[in-house]
Amino acid sequence: MKKEEADLFVPREVTTDEIFVPGHRACIGCGEALAIRHVCKALGRNVIIVNATGCSEIIASLLPQTSWCVPWIHTLFENTASVMSGIEAAYKARVRKGKIADKNVKFIAFAGDGGTSDIGIQALSGAMERGHDFLYVCYDNEAYMNTGIQRSSSTPYGAWTTTAPDGKKSIGQATWKKNMPEIAVAHKIPYVATACPSYPFDLMDKVKRGIEIEGPAYVHIFSPCPTGWRAPPELTIEIGRLAVESGVFPLYEVINGEYRLNFDFPDLKPVREYMKPQRRFKHLTEDIIDKIQARVADEYSRLREKAGVK
């Protein structure tokens, strides 16, 4: 058996305990649902999850059903880190006051890229600054997919979305993707990482590290979205790999300020290869793709430098 084939089913066997159970309404090939499944396997059951409004919330909690086998709460879009702050404080206070026994419960926040880098950034920044002991997981599918593929600040340069369509006077998204992991790093929190469900063991390791470290931890998960990226659903894993191998979405960790590049590619695959299966990039001209290529190469070399890779 080739390693790549093993990777497809071995993650399921890490633990057979499913915490995010099937029957939910995610699209075929959803990278986010897959990532949530892996994250939950790494978390175990001794957690409380706060979920922002978005795909992950609406697919799995339609009354009277739920896919969540652990305590789970959703309230609004932008306040995920805030609700989590209250839960964590409540737990600490109640343990201290002898009202409940300390069972080392972990506090987890889930949100999409819009709920994190746009509408929820203030709440997240506040929670990181206050130093709550929690893990925040951002599932980044690079646009508001739940509402119908509108652009977010996490949408990559040049991509088509319904609110940044390409046209005679538009190349599509005219701004560069907001670098949310670096914003988390700037808060000097003990743990920041990027992950992708195409690398399930790396992803699960990072989630485990995130909950073990005391204080705020932030994991940003690149979650391919076949529906919104106009890509074949069977290519979700491959697109994730191409994003990493092309340097578009490098996998790295920042532990107490120290950068560590988890997968290094001295010879990056061309961004064209990553973009090719996705119709959201099909309108891009050669010069725009060259511009993106140059930016990706530059950012990747800066990251290598930070990680001390020679």
């Binding site: 059951r45 001794n46 957690v47 409380i48 706060v50 919330e57 609406i58 909690s61 339609l62 009354l63 009277p64 739920t66 969540w68 086998c69 652990v70 305590p71 789970w72 709460i73 959703h74 309230t75 609004l76 932008e78 306040n79 805030s82 609700v83 989590m84 702050s85 209250g86 839960i87 964590e88 404080a89 409540a90 737990y91 600490k92 206070a93 109640r94 201290r96 006051k97 009202k99 409940i100 069972k103 419960v105 203030q122 709440a123 920044s125 506040g126 600054e129 206050r130």
Partner: protein, 395 residues
């Protein structure tokens, strides 16, 4: 009667005392004038170990209410306080505890809304949140601020209630004024507020999903259940105020009357200006006028029965609003009229708007309202509407 000591206390400190005596577990608040003295005092209490609570100094009121929601869902007794713009920033979140049945207690130091910027008192903030499903009660002095805050915990957390509650204290008039008040000894409070035990909390041993997605086949049922349960809170509000009165000697009612015996003319007020209104009533009574005062202690749920009973023999009802509902007059006046619409015998209702943005209403102001209301009633013909007048405005 229980043992109490008389102290001079600012309204904000009185509220903080009530929160300390309630032994809140989590406080999440963001500073805003004129609420600041409450958070400052609570911070001191936590810093000195007088109150064993986690004080989350949040980055906004939106987060303050969100953190209270999370903490309450995790089984903690919570507190927040805000005012004016802060309550408006919370607005979106306020719907969550009322629809998810989380007994958050909040004190609002009533403040006007921008623009122009005003830190001073009126009731625009509390009126903007009247349809959300929070129990709303008003204090008119510091004693009441203390008493009602304590009662709010017992009401909100009752297993037959489980709704959030707001206690409104007028910004500056109460929040920054020192008055004599009776403070029960700590041991006297013990047992008045039972331990908070929500039937469903976020607990890995008993996992539940909270805040699920409600499609059309279930949303109306959820809303009806909420409305029925909210109306039923009245019973526990009355029970709690009775229990408080029996224990501490101070009785509260949803509609409180002052010199209403045989009154043909009634003035209706809410909040701190009611005490000035009482002085005006005294003066008019001394001149032989048949006037009395009605104060709405409870704004939500609206006390229909008690209100109709209070005005059943009144011929002219003068309503003061400290808020403008643009294009609609005053919100209190509108609601009072709605509450009377189906009644066979009902008073003329004359609305006034005053006290906006901290403009004081003096005794003469209330006297003017009553005199002017009588003239207006005399002057109207059948079928004519009496327009709401904004008083004390330079033109």
């Amino acid at each position: 009667m229980k043992k109490e000591k008389v102290v001079g206390l600012e309204g904000s400190f009185a509220v903080a005392e009530a929160v300390r005596l309630a032994n809140a577990d989590v406080i999440a608040a963001y500073p805003i004038t004129p609420q600041t003295h409450i958070v400052e005092r609570l911070s001191e209490m936590v810093a000195e170990g007088e109150l064993d609570a986690d004080f989350i100094c949040v980055e906004s009121e939106h987060t303050a209410m969100s953190a209270c929601v999370g903490a309450s869902a995790a089984g903690a007794r919570v507190f927040t306080c805000t005012a004016g713009q802060g309550l408006e920033l919370m607005h979106e979140v306020l719907y969550i505890p009322s629809s998810m049945r989380l007994p958050v207690v909040a004190v609002i130091a009533n403040r006007a809304l921008s623009a122009p910027l005003s830190v001073w008192c009126d009731h625009s903030d509390m009126m903007a949140v009247r349809d959300i499903g929070w129990i709303q009660m008003l204090a008119e002095n510091n004693q009441q601020a203390f008493d009602l805050t304590l009662c709010a915990y017992r009401i909100a957390e009752d297993s037959d209630v489980l709704f959030p509650a707001m206690v409104h204290i007028d910004g500056f008039y109460l929040s920054h004024v020192i008055e004599d008040m009776s403070l029960p000894e700590d041991e006297e409070i013990a047992g008045f507020i039972p331990e908070y035990e929500h039937p469903f909390t976020l607990d890995p041993d008993n996992p539940v999903s909270m805040g699920c997605y409600g499609p059309p086949f279930i949303y109306p049922e959820a809303k009806k259940a909420q409305e029925v349960a909210f109306e039923n809170t009245m019973l526990k509000i009355l029970e709690t105020w009775k229990a408080f009165g029996d224990r501490f000697g101070r009785y509260y009612a949803p509609v409180e009357k002052y010199r209403m015996e045989d009154a043909k003319i009634a003035l209706l007020t809410m909040g701190s200006c009611s005490e000035t209104a009482m002085l005006a009533i005294d003066e008019l009574r001394a001149k032989g006028e048949d006037v009395g005062l009605i104060r709405l202690r409870l704004w939500r749920p609206f006390p229909f029965k008690e209100f109709r009973e209070a005005v059943k023999d009144v011929e002219v009802l003068v309503v003061l609003d400290r808020c403008v509902s643009f294009g609609m007059g005053g919100p209190v006046c509108s609601e009072v009229k709605a509450a009377l619409y189906d009644q066979q015998k009902k008073p003329h209702v004359v609305g006034f708007i005053g006290g906006l943005g901290g403009r004081d209403i003096l005794i003469e102001g209330f006297e003017y309202m009553i005199r002017s209301a009588l003239e207006k009633v005399k002057a109207i013909k059948r079928g004519e509407e009496i327009e709401t007048e904004m008083i004390g405005v330079r033109e």
